[in-house]
Subunit: 178 residues, 2 copies
DNA sequence: GCGGGCATGTAACTAGTTACATGATTTT
DNA sequence: AAAATCATGTAACTAGTTACATGCCCGC
């Protein structure tokens, strides 16, 4: 039930409507950490309100409901974050693809690794360029921090995958030299 | 429906029983890429056999059924791996925790980041030691390759997270110097 | 002969996705 | 006035988990 904690965390950073929360999952959050559509978000917010973790603190235009985390919710988020995670489960189709490369014949595997190195390298370069353009030293905590933490994580992630793919491609090239 | 492709990939590397396949998900595969219990694996294998992607090629002791990928299955795996992935979805509770750190108060966030840097650093050091001990230059493709690819990915992953946590901790220390 | 690991499965449940549905505001 | 975007929701379905259930084989 991590969706609940994801929403709790987002609300702890800043009160939001379900619509805004759902959009967060389209960025780095959804790409690297947790992903959910608005059809999961709205019912979960209702349940969280029932359970006293969040409450509706404003109603705006178009029936928009702004949720705010309650003290109970904040306590629960703190407890969850500070308690050691059990064996942690992951689902990442992209990583799965990388692992399965060893099931391919040599030439296909090599081509795929080179393609992975290139696309992750491009993604990393792009993110690095964006970061150089805004050397904003805003606070790492709160609303801005969330974005910075996530962006930096994404950048380092792409670089790690790029380097891994380069390593694997090089080993593969040595293995069967034409 | 990535479980199907995960199983297809594992079977393409080496014919296995459902039991063996289920165990694979307890290692690096389940930790970083895809995770499933035996109760998902057995029904899916049956469905894959029905769909002609795999077949039972041996029956051993204790009712063990060894599945082998068919030519159709191998073609499908190849098609899937070589076709560009759409926007890829990820679910990783550990990463989610990292992103939500910005919802914590300064001191808790710093303590947690330091703890993450330490535990991922330890994990990386351990994996690196194991690798130094076995500098096996076995082939990167096929059964061994799968393990090597996954192990190397895991190692680089832990190092990337360790470095990210160190970066974040350092920024946080500067932000509010006691 | 007994305990642990091998080996398979079903049933009930939970979480999340896709498709459908509606309507209000803002921008062009 | 139309299009885009904001904003919320329900229903049917799919995927995966937890709990339950069974039994065989091997080492001690």
């Amino acid at each position: 039930m991590s969706l609940r904690h994801a929403l709790l965390g987002l609300l702890a950073v800043r009160p939001s409507t379900g619509y805004e929360l759902a959009k967060e999952f389209e960025g780095d959050l959804g790409r690297h950490a947790w992903q959910a559509g608005h059809t999961s978000v709205y019912p979960e917010l209702n349940r969280m309100a029932e359970d006293g973790l969040a409450e509706v603190t404003a109603e705006g235009a178009r029936g928009a409901k702004t949720y705010t985390v309650t003290e109970t919710g904040r306590t629960e988020l703190h407890r969850w974050l500070m308690s050691p995670p059990g064996p942690t489960r992951a689902r990442n189709e992209y990583v799965l693809r990388m692992f399965l490369i060893s099931a391919l014949p040599h030439d296909d595997a090599l081509a795929l690794l080179e393609q992975i190195a290139e696309s992750t390298g491009d993604a990393a370069a792009e993110l690095r360029a964006v970061r150089e353009a805004h050397p904003d030293d805003g606070p790492l905590l709160g609303a801005d921090g969330f974005g910075q933490l996530a962006a930096e994580y994404g950048l380092r992630q792409y670089e790690a995958v790029r380097d891994w793919a380069r390593w694997a491609a090089e080993r593969l090239r040595d293995e069967k030299p034409a």
